[in-house]
Symmetry: D3
Subunit: 139 residues, 6 copies
């Protein structure tokens, strides 16, 4: 009776891909236009999936209003209209790739999902950088 429940949110942010241990030439060679010193940006789409047994009183695995609020408070409020390299505490010292971003998102949410539901645990996060490129993480 395990049901998987997903909520879709979004944020807009700037970033660049740039390894400070490398020369500008090597960065340009590896990252191409993504290394542009003056940044570029995306409309990121994030889908958070939790799993659990529906509560007989509500029919809910999780109240989606509470899941939406959790994602906004803990994730999108911290990255929306921000520079992922400069403005976001949990990305300091890391390459601002979607792979690293989604791993940090998981660390933030994994202990907080059980606080908003009796039965739900975090199952996966999906993160679209563009409609054509996305990553998924299961912990």
């Amino acid at each position: 009776m395990m049901v998987f429940v997903s909520r879709h949110e979004h944020f807009n942010a700037a970033h660049k891909l740039y390894n400070p241990n490398w020369s500008k030439e090597k960065n340009d060679d590896v990252f191409g236009p993504c290394a542009n010193a003056n940044w570029h940006g995306h409309n990121f789409e994030i889908i958070v999936t939790v799993k659990g047994i529906p509560d007989p009183d509500t029919g809910f695995v999780v109240d989606l209003k509470r899941l939406s609020k959790l994602i906004r408070t803990e994730i999108t409020d911290k990255v929306d209209h921000k520079n992922l390299n400069l403005d976001v505490d949990f990305m300091q010292g890391k390459m601002a790739s979607t792979e690293n971003l989604i791993i940090e998102f998981w660390k933030i949410l994994v202990d907080k999902v059980p606080l908003i539901s009796k039965s739900a645990t975090l199952h996966s996060i999906k993160l679209y950088e563009t409609p054509r490129n996305y990553v998924e993480y299961f912990g």
Copy 2:
């Protein structure tokens, strides 16, 4: 050689979230606007995924025309342009949440998928209540 084959259908329905064992105040507190006594509704999107080995004669795991017809006959004809709380036999006595709805859809389809294909079995159902909220069930 196991291939997963999916078919997307849709239906439009009304529902409300309301626990008859609770006061109106508690229902409003828990379900918010979803408890509106006069109902609200959605364009639901349903994706049914079956899995199996392609038949060498047809190249098919399942004939998608038959899978589409099965979903329409067994599911969407029973819920389309209906009130999920009042009009749908298999939802009587249950909270009309997408979690409970998808579990009932699974019970209806799981024994019928093998009747339309030599090799296919039901793998999962995905149910969108809105483009931002969806559930998935694997039995």
Copy 3:
């Protein structure tokens, strides 16, 4: 230098199509399943388009945060998670078709758009009842 600026919002609502001056048989004949006495519903999508000259100080025809807030305050807060036939003042005594709904939305917004921008006027409203059916109105 006239630029058209659009904002997309959404709401979920129940309705039925039923002419009280007709017999149940005629209603069923004309409206089919849309006449279901127990209602059905949709995820409506609304796109409001205003037109005007960009302000040199802001680059804006209209501040989209203000346009979004206007649509939510004046339109979607009044119809979201509501029954369009029973709960919505401005639809009383009217058939709850998307055609009639969009005309009422226009009447509400046409005088309020100029209050949130020096140059903008309402150009059009587009209303999706389903991804396959929509109406548009230009006043």
Copy 4:
């Protein structure tokens, strides 16, 4: 026999909304998070529409491969993975709003569309900043 032909392209860019003649406080007040000093960004989607009479020999108003190449060469190559405020010549001294951006795109394309087709002229440009916010310009 006038047919309107549209081509959809995209680019990813960073920008901020900031009027240098105003204090930081006024910028924050007017533009909110869009004024973030460290930039933010979007996946922009651009749709260019031309109109004309189909050529009897090709059935084309315009060769869409040539229209696509024109948009990429003249527009998206100049803004993709760029900072609209810092890196783009034609936006210097202008607020980096979608309204101003689309007017500049029009100026670039209006004389070049007739060079790739015997009958086509530029009809409109549509520019999505997010799936929920877009502008359109007809010259």
Copy 5:
């Protein structure tokens, strides 16, 4: 009180772009891979827009079930799972471009729309060949 009402349908078809008065070399040069002798194909999406005054008894400009049936009977049944060059009467002797296709669709529908509604007339047809390429026609 003129409201524009649109219905979205789809069909899947094969075609090629090939001018029989030209050499194979010129066809390849002008049409590139679209001239492939063995055909290619698309999932076409068609949106038909009619305009009119809502009927006070129904709230409808047009009954969308009837508009849908008209499009399917008169258009998509004739082109779905067909070869546009070989199988479609009204495309004989014409280049199978979307421009020519949409003009023929208009000729078919323009006199038939008034037969399904007291007030509606055909306003426009929009035809997507791919999600990135589309044409629109207003007669």
Copy 6:
């Protein structure tokens, strides 16, 4: 720390479903309009998912520019604007179903993904024939 990374590409192709060991009548009976001798076609959408540990120097499981190029070179260049039955070497002697197509795509990519990344392996391929019908394969 296993992250799943996906890239979306597309191609347009013609095909038919026809078993040469069967009579025309049996083919028509089993495949319906998909057996049309003159072919039909689709806009296919392909999503390739690889999995691996992000490289600490780049933050990447795989360079998406290289994954995109691999899909285009090895898959879409061979099927785009082609007839899947007649023009595609690896489909000779097979029914041109999406099930068979995705199995062949897997065979082509499975050994080549590790050549473009230190840690990535092929996880799955998803293939949309239409927005309503798709298959997925995990090897």
